[in-house]
Amino acid sequence: MVQSVKPVASTWCPGCGDFGVLAAVKKAVAEAGVPVHEEVLVGGIGCSGGIHNFIETNGIHALHGRLLAQAIGIKLSNPQLTVIAAGGDGDGYAIGMGHFMHAFKKNVSLLYIVMNNETYGLTKGQASPTSQIGYEGNIEHPFDAILTALSIRVPNFIARTFSGDPKTMTQVLVEAIKFNRANHGFAFVEDLSPCVTYNDTFKDWRARVVDVATLPGYDPTDRQTMFRLCVETMRAGKIPIGVMHRPAAPDPNSPGLELKLLPDKVGPARAEIDLASNRAAYEKLLRAVA
């Protein structure tokens, strides 16, 4: 047994919502049958982004907001890896917003978990893109990632979970990881993960979350219906959670980007690049330059 990097003790405050995500990710990865050495966790910057240090796994700690770009690079380099990117709402919806939007359209089969606490915890409680009006003097409107995700017409997996319900979260993550491992495309899960120090919303959110699956007409294959259900729930002062979108059936013509680019799943990281195995093809390539 080769000794290598071990998890360190978490740096999170006792009671942090991120503990729920940590536990759910550990369980979901095992339940989805991911070989441990093939798992890569890409962390963002912020409290939540440290998650890769607290699990026995391969990890890369990306730059602030850039975790999706790095995660996409990893998956397209070696499609055999199971890639999970995890960060916060500031990381994903502020500095990383451009990459967030493009991750849907690129549709690379990886899981992106945003731990949304509606605040910048690590820098001690500034307003984030999802902060409610009035929070720490915030006068800007909060951003809703689920409504945005639903508006992008790509066969992605989209869900929202709540750290107060780790059991459901685990089920959702298992489905998301299996979706990725079947090369069906991008999976986005926003977890409502309260910051107990700067924005303790546990009690409030527990009272307001509504699982969309319990609503009449629930149909996660239909964006229009789900958009309507979410907006109606929000109008009623509630917070919609649950699986928001999954394709009705895998579309063979629209798999994850890694499969479109690399049908045999041998990517750049595992390609033979020595001269001997490529000499004939290289010579042909160079001869074609006239």
Partner: protein
């Protein structure tokens, strides 16, 4: 070279007519500038001439002056053909082909003493002594129905002026338009004949210049960006992400064609921030990677390059320099990113900057750069410039004779299984930790831009911090023997030194030849590694000369400053020849200050 006969000696072919030369002037080196409004087909004329001259075994070098817009606006190209190898714009042009007035205005300053301006008199009138008007558009419009073929008619007229072989002239048109089908070919051939006829019927126009045939038929026609793309493929590069930006975009476009058959991936990212981070992710996972960009993109990538430096992820960043800062002049030439690159990023991390001088060198150094990045696990910058990236030139066919792929200490699953411990950031004598890609059974790794210990755990321990800084920065010392060495030209005893990198190579070599003919010996240090400043070769070079001119395209003398900083003992010997007007050096601009002892 044939000695031109004096004007008093009548020779066959001497028409003696107005505007004509008394006899064909025999040349070994000639330049034609073709200019007009976008859509006039000026680049087609340059391409046709290039094709003809290549059939005759000449070396070609074509520079373009285009605006950053899709259609319209003035654009021109200057095509040079020579019996000798060339990598520079010719200081003067023999012929200007003007489809708009601007072409004549821009080109006049560089027109040779016996040069001519051939212009489309159906569009405008030029009141210049050496101007010859042909109503190309009207002539072609009437006969072919579409004035657009005026460019082919101009090619026909030029073929007469330069005494081209008629059959080969026609063959060029057939080669160029065969794929476009019968009608296009037929119309172009008709336009060709119109141009030829008009020129033959004009007294004194035929056979003004002859260019002797050369022996460069075996050469390929390429640009630096294509050479970089090819070098990347054969050097084992398999993942490329980029964002379109002039003058770097062709690297990505070529790779979109080249890489897919090799399990390669090319992605156009949403911005340069994504591009650099995509290659970081791909390199972390074990691929050989590159991105290409220019100044504005480089500014955005700076964040990621620093991350790669401290996280020890091997990446290659090709910077095709253009006029900066900000948007600057997107299509124009400069070498003004070096100071930024040498000091780039917040904090301190090792980076290597290498710079090819020719398109052949672009191919070679790209392969070297990939090996350096992966062997030393650090970011490598491939520093290019607009002229080198985009000017079309003949070159020796690329071959694999110098290509090696060396990935450094990359552990296989079998090797890992025999270890007691795997630490991604293990301290080693040369600072390079053995690398096992994620996915290797039995081990995990943690990679981070936070300061970390050998295991990859975040650490602010002061003792560890010092050791980690020394590990990373020490690579710059240990890597030196592997860095590309300079190419030196001229006699070792010469007391005048010239230092330059990138596309200044060609103009400097021509300046050396001019100076040599005048009895001034020079020695040229063509720098191929710029950072770390190659003191081991620069120190003896500077010791051997009395004075050294650093030739570069920027206002402040960035490379000269780097050298002064690294070798202060030679401070007084260093002079600076700078150009920052957006255009590349002409050799006289280097000759004059050296002659003047400036």
């Amino acid at each position: 070279m044939t000695t031109p006969a004096s004007k008093t000696t009548p020779v066959p072919g001497d028409s003696g007519g107005p505007g004509g030369s008394p006899r064909p002037k025999e040349l070994t080196d000639l330049a034609v500038m073709i200019g007009g409004q976008g859509g006039d087909g000026t680049l087609t004329v340059s391409d046709l001439l290039g094709r003809y001259f290549r059939k005759r075994g000449l070396y070609i070098y074509t520079s373009r002056n285009v605006l950053s817009r899709i259609r319209g606006g003035h654009a021109d190209a200057t095509m040079r053909a020579s019996r000798d190898p060339i990598a520079a714009v010719k200081p003067d042009v023999e012929l200007i082909v003007a489809f708009d007035k601007e072409a004549a205005e821009i080109g006049r300053a560089e027109l040779s003493a016996d040069g001519a301006i051939l212009y489309d008199s159906s569009a405008f009138k030029l009141e210049l002594p050496n101007a010859i008007g042909f109503p190309f558009a009207t002539l072609v419009g009437g006969a072919v129905g579409q004035p657009i073929f005026k460019n082919t008619a101009a090619y026909g007229a030029i073929s007469v002026m330069m005494g081209f072989d008629p059959a080969q002239t026609r063959q060029v048109i057939e080669d160029r338009f065969a794929r476009r089908g019968g009608e296009a070919l037929e119309k172009n051939l008709k336009a060709l004949e119109i141009g030829r006829k008009a020129a033959l019927e004009t007294p004194g126009l035929a056979d003004r210049w002859h260019v002797a045939d050369g022996e460069a038929q075996h050469q390929i026609l390429t640009i630096g960006n294509q050479a970089v793309a090819l070098g990347f493929v054969v050097g084992g590069g398999r993942f490329f992400a980029g964002y379109p930006i002039t003058p770097a975009t062709e690297v990505m476009e070529y790779l979109m064609r080249y890489l897919p058959p090799f399990h390669g991936v090319v992605r156009q990212a949403e911005d340069e921030l994504a591009a650099i981070n995509m290659i970081i992710g791909a390199a972390y996972a074990g691929a050989r990677v590159m991105t290409s960009t220019s100044g504005p993109g480089l500014s955005l990538m700076t964040e990621g390059i620093g991350h790669a430096g401290t996280a020890e992820v091997p990446i290659l960043v090709a910077d095709c320099q253009r006029v900066g800062p900000s948007t600057g002049e997107p299509t124009r030439h400069e070498q003004s990113d070096l100071a930024h690159l040498a000091h780039l990023g917040h904090g301190e991390f090792p980076r290597v900057i290498v710079a090819p001088g020719t398109v052949e060198d672009c191919f070679e150094i790209t392969v070297d750069a990939l090996n350096l990045a992966e062997r030393w696990r650090l970011p490598v910058i491939l520093l290019l410039d607009q002229a080198l990236c985009q000017n079309t030139t003949t070159a020796e066919p690329f071959n694999l004779s110098k290509v090696t792929v060396d990935r450094g200490v990359r552990l296989t699953a079998e090797q890992v299984a025999k270890l007691d411990v795997y630490q991604h950031y293990q301290f080693t004598p040369n600072g390079v930790s053995p690398y096992a890609p994620p996915g290797t059974p039995g081990i995990f790794s943690q990679v981070t831009g936070n300061e970390h210990n050998e295991m990859g755990h975040v650490s602010v321990n002061p003792v560890n911090r010092v050791k980690m800084m020394e590990k990373r920065m020490g690579k710059l010392r240990h890597i030196v023997p592997e860095l590309p060495v300079p190419h030196l030209f001229g006699e070792e005893t010469a007391k005048i030194g010239i230092i330059g990198y990138g596309s200044t190579f060609g103009p400097i070599r021509e300046a050396q030849a001019t100076l040599e003919r005048a009895g001034t010996k020079t020695r040229f240090y063509n720098a191929r590694t710029l950072f770390p400043v190659p003191v081991e070769s620069l120190d003896p070079f500077l010791t051997s000369v009395d004075v050294a001119y650093v030739v570069e395209h920027n206002y402040t003398g960035q490379f000269a400053d780097l050298i002064r900083g690294a070798l202060p003992q030679h401070f007084r010997k260093l002079r600076s020849i700078r150009k920052y007007d957006g255009d590349s050096f002409r050799s006289p601009e280097i000759v004059a200050p050296i002659r003047g002892g400036k």
